[in-house]
Amino acid sequence: MKKLINNPDAVVRESLQGFAAAHPDLVQVHFDPTYVVRADGAQDGKVGVVSGGGSGHEPMHNGYVGRGMLDAACPGEVFTSPTPDQMQAATEAVDGGAGVLHLVKNYTGDVMNFDMAADLAEDGGTDVRSVVINDDVAVEDSTYTAGRRGVGATVLIEKICGAAAADGYALDDVADLAAACNEDARSMGMALTSCTVPSAGEPTFDLGEEEMEIGIGIHGEPGRERKDIAPADEVVDLLMEPVIADRPFTDGDDVLLFVNSMGGTPMIELYLAYRKAVEVAEAHGLNVVRNLVGPYITSLEMAGMSVTLLQMTEERIRLWDAPVHTPGLRWGA
């Protein structure tokens, strides 16, 4: 395992220490329980927006704490849901009296831990609403399974809901907006290589020199199928078509197109993929009114990409464009 780390068990802590040192103007990092909170703490009368999940997806979620996006994030161990005590502490730290929204990616562990945290925070007198994000079309959506995973839409929803909260939306309204965006978003990802969880020390899965995994999860969970590697344009087709068909997005829809690197795929390839993704979107009559291209929800050093489409409305465009100032996403400020 080749990584710039010291002790595999200290990766998250030491990384957070560096993160705190790099961005003291934006965030504070608390340890035991561990959470990241905006440097200026709870905002009087503003809904707090909190997310969290396993580490290893940086900049998500820690990198989206600051102004105009998340108020706090709870990092777990690498690819492991954080725990209720972290979430409870983070929730209480950003409760400005208007309640707190939990944005939870749909993984059994995350959902259960956030559930317990919400109960604890409610017991402590904080209004909590939770919205579970499940945009990954690679997974069959069925009440007989854990359902679809939360992936790329999380970044978009954190931005849009963070802006809504900054704009003075009430808790129920921010929560409803998050749920509506989730309803209107779809994603799918693929991997060219595995990632290696530091504490495991070995690649999570084996992919042959000529293979790729279509429908990969952001923790290296296997996807729909394993295929021979193919030209980028074919790969983008394999991702875009199911995403568009699933909702289904239709002719004339305004969309945000998010082309994401899983970590190891460099920008030169990502823009090349974006070129094709736009083509596919336009061939379906979609208007790409906003875009995001880069490594925003990653899986350590995994090579691969994902695409996310989110239907845009005037309100969502306004909130997307609103100023954001976080370590991982910044504009207008």
Binding site: G54, V78, E140, T204
Partner: protein
């Protein structure tokens, strides 16, 4: 009869087993999960062991274990095992625990797991190991009002092992493995495996009780 000290021994024995099998549990969690079950359980059980000393009763001990697990395990197994011990604690008698008490405690724990995680037997989760284990305890308690603990604990452990093994051909319907659908077949569930260790640790460490 099982004392507070016995429970501590059980937890320590379980923590040792988890530490020893950490890599194996993680290996089980790789093809059908995300390769962290061993680390998760080990982190949680270290915290549980660290919390043991402060508690004076079986209930308080189990409660401390639950809090340690909930605050350190993370993932799906943290809330599930945490709830297991929390609910078991609520059923623990104030003093010594007999076989029937034990059966009731484990049932309460299992019920908690099912309430929290919504899994049924056959879904390829820890429930598939815990269910036959608890049923074996209940059967023994029913057969004789005060059964010999060593025997019934080993019988329960054997039942969890069989339950664990039975997860191999199952198609997962809960947890991370459910994303794989049919591809989850042919792999043993990691959580069922750690549940078997839990019951086996009871048989190993409480036999002197």
């Amino acid at each position: 009869m099982i004392s507070t000290e016995d429970i501590r021994r059980w937890i320590r024995s379980y923590a040792d087993r988890i530490a020893e099998q950490k890599a194996y549990l993680t290996k089980l969690d790789s093809p059908i999960g995300d390769g962290d079950h061993g680390q998760n359980m080990n982190r949680g059980m270290q915290a549980a062991v660290a919390a043991l000393e402060d508690a004076a009763t079986p209930a308080a001990t189990l409660q401390a274990v639950a809090m340690g697990l909930i605050s350190k395990t993370g993932g799906a197994s943290g809330p599930l095992y945490g709830t297991f011990f929390l609910e078991a604690a609520k059923q623990a008698p104030a003093d010594a625990i007999d076989g029937a008490d034990w059966a009731a405690m484990m049932r309460a724990g299992l019920d908690g797991v099912q309430r929290r995680g919504n899994a049924q037997p056959g879904d390829k989760t820890m429930v598939d190991a815990l269910t036959p284990g608890v049923e074996a305890l209940e059967q023994a308690a029913q057969d004789s009002p005060s059964p010999a603990l060593p025997d019934i604990l080993q019988a329960a452990a054997d039942a969890t092992r069989e339950g664990m093994e039975a997860t191999v051909p199952m198609v997962a319907r809960k947890g991370r493995a459910s994303y794989l659908g049919e591809r989850s077949k042919g792999h043993q569930d990691p959580g069922a495996t750690s549940s078997y260790y839990l019951f086996q640790a009871a048989a190993d460490s409480l036999t002197s009780a």
